[in-house]
Symmetry: C2
Subunit: 314 residues, 2 copies
C-alpha cells in the first residue's frame, strides 16, 4: 500500500481524538484513526459534520474523503509522519501503546501524546528511544482553541521540539514549548487557581454560578482573550509599566492572596454548584451549548486574525 507523505495517525476516537481528526482532515492531511470501537466510523463521520462549521474553509464531505478508520495499530501508524495519541489517562495503557507505535511507525515519525496528567518521560518510559516522546497537550476543543502546550523530557533533542512546534503551527495552532515539565501543565493550573476562588465566592453566597460566569465573560475573560495577565498589569502600571505596577500595587498582592478562599469539594459544595448550574443551563442541550460556544470562539478568532468572520461563523 502506498502511503501519502501527508499521512498522520490519530490513536483513540474519544472527544480529543475526534476533534484532532476533524482539524487534520480540514488541513488537507490524510488521517488514519486507530480505534477498536465498532462505532468509530460513525463517530468520526458525526464529529466531522459537527465540527466543520467551526473550522474556516472546511467542508465535511471533502474532510471525510481523507479519513480512514482502522482497528489495527501497527497498520495505522505504518508510514505516518506523526502519531497523535489521545487514549484515556491510564499510564500503563499509554506506555504499551507507544512501545507498539515505535515498533511499527517510521523512525522519524513525530510521537505525540495529548496526556493532560503525565510527564513525557513517564509516557515514553517503554520506548527504546524515550526522548522521542513529546507531549502536545491541547485545549478542548482542539479544532478551535489555538493553544498546544509542548513538553519534552530531558532526553528530547531541541530540534525535535522545534519540529513538533512547526507541525502544530502548520495546523493553525499556537504551540508554546514549556521549558520544563510541570504537573498539569500551565493553562490547566491557571484555570484551576481561578476556579478555586470562583467556587469560594459562590459558596460564600456573594454570587451564583451564572452571575460568576457573567462577571468573567464581561471582564477578565474578555481582556485575557486580547492581552495576557502580565501585559494587563504592564498596562495597569501606565507609562511606568509592570515595574511601576509591581512596586506600587504588587506589595498588596501577598495580602490579597492571603484573603483567597480554600473551599473543600464536599458533597454539599457539589450539590450547591450543580443545583445552580441546573437552574442556569439545565434547559439547554449539550449539543446546543457546545455549538454556540464554538461558533462564538470561531467568530472571535476570525476577528482577531483578520479572517473573514462571515465564513468562520457560519
Amino acid at each position: 500500500m502506498t502511503v501519502p507523505s501527508s499521512t498522520v495517525t490519530v490513536v483513540a476516537a474519544g472527544t480529543i481524538g475526534l476533534s484532532w481528526t476533524a482539524l487534520l482532515a480540514a488541513k488537507g492531511l490524510h488521517v488514519r484513526v486507530n480505534s477498536r470501537n465498532p462505532d468509530a466510523g460513525s463517530l468520526v463521520a458525526s464529529a466531522i459534520r459537527l465540527y466543520a462549521p467551526a473550522i474556516p474553509g472546511a467542508e465535511a464531505a471533502d474532510m471525510l474523503s481523507r479519513v480512514v478508520v482502522d482497528t489495527d495499530l501497527a497498520r495505522s501508524v505504518a508510514g505516518a509522519a506523526a502519531v497523535l495519541e489521545n487514549a484515556p489517562e491510564n499510564l500503563d495503557l499509554k506506555q504499551d501503546l507507544f512501545a507498539a507505535i515505535e515498533a511499527a511507525a517510521p523512525p522519524d515519525a513525530l510521537l505525540l501524546s495529548a496526556t493532560s496528567t503525565f510527564a513525557p518521560s513517564d509516557v515514553g518510559a517503554r520506548l527504546k528511544d524515550p526522548g522521542r516522546l513529546i507531549v502536545g497537550h491541547p485545549f478542548n476543543p482542539p479544532h478551535v482553541i489555538p493553544l498546544v502546550e509542548i513538553v519534552g523530557s530531558a532526553d528530547t533533542p531541541p530540534e525535535l521540539l522545534d519540529r513538533a512546534a512547526r507541525f502544530y503551527r502548520s495546523l493553525g495552532k499556537n504551540p508554546v514549548t514549556l521549558r520544563k515539565p510541570i504537573l498539569g501543565f500551565v493553562a490547566n493550573r491557571l484555570q484551576s487557581a481561578l476556579l478555586r476562588e470562583a467556587i469560594n465566592v459562590v459558596q460564600q453566597g456573594v454570587v451564583t454560578v451564572d452571575e460568576l460566569d457573567a462577571i468573567v465573560t464581561s471582564s477578565i475573560g474578555l481582556r485575557w482573550a486580547v492581552i495576557g495577565p502580565f501585559r494587563t498589569f504592564h498596562l495597569g502600571g501606565g507609562p511606568g509599566g509592570l515595574r511601576h505596577w509591581l512596586e506600587h500595587l504588587g506589595v498588596s498582592l501577598d495580602e490579597n492572596w492571603a484573603q483567597l478562599g480554600r473551599p473543600a469539594m464536599s458533597p454539599e459544595t457539589i450539590g450547591l454548584l450543580t443545583g445552580q448550574a441546573d437552574l442556569a443551563f439545565g434547559d439547554r442541550t449539550f449539543e446546543d451549548l457546545a455549538a454556540e460556544r464554538d461558533r462564538d470562539l470561531s467568530k472571535i478568532l476570525a476577528t482577531l486574525t483578520g479572517d473573514d468572520p462571515a465564513q468562520a461563523g457560519t
Copy 2:
C-alpha cells in the same frame, strides 16, 4: 442655571474618571467633571480624543460639546441625576467627598463610588442616609470593558440597587449586583488567584512572562470571553453536565489546589518579572499598547454583540 435632566457628575479626573467621562458623553449625557487639577480641561479633551475610536458611534467633537470641567464640588453636583466618584483610594477623602455631595446633590441622585477596596458601608459612613451609597466597581478601561460590579450596604433599598443597574445598563455596561460585599469584589479576586499561579510558573522557570501571556490568550482567555468557568465545566462534563464533571473529575480538584504555588513578592521576584516584561514589551509605548488592546477589545465586543465590527474597530 438650567440643568438638563440628563446631567451626571464625574468626581476626579484620573484614569477611571476620564474613561467614564468619555463613555457618558458618548452616550449623549451632559457631563460635569469635578476636579481641582488645573490641567483637567486638557486631560479631558485628550482622553476623549484617545477613547472615542473604541466606543461604537462616538464622535470626539460631539462628546466634548457636552462636557464641562468645574473646580467647585457643590456646583458640580447640583441638579445631577447621578454622581460617579473616582477619587484615589483614601477612605477619609471619599467619606468627606460624599458628605459634601449629599449636601449639594438632588435627594434622588444616584451616589456611586468606583472604589476597588472599600465596602459601601465604609464609603457612605458620613452620609445622613448611608444606604444611598452604592459601589459601582468598573473594570479598566470602563469605556470598553462591560462589567460593573454593584454592591450596596445592608441599608440600601433593593429598588435603589435596581436603579443603579438600569443606569449602568443604559450606558451599555453589564452590571452584576453582588448579593453581599466581599473584600476586593469578585473579578479582582479571580484575577488575583490566577496571577498568583502565573507568577509561580514563571518563578519556577517553566515559561517566561510573554509565553505565559500567549498561553492565556490562546486558551483560557479566549474561552472565558465566550463562556465562564462554570459553563466551561458544565460542557466539559458532556451531556451529564457540571454534575458529571464534578462527580468524576471534581474529586481531583482538592489535589490540584494543593499543588498550586505560593510565591512571595520578594524584590527578586519583582526583578525577574519586570526584566522579562522589559524584554517582551519594553520596545513599545504605553499609548501604542493601550490603543491596540482597546481596538481588539472593541472588535471582539462588536463581534459578540452583532454590531458592525468595521465601525467599532476603526
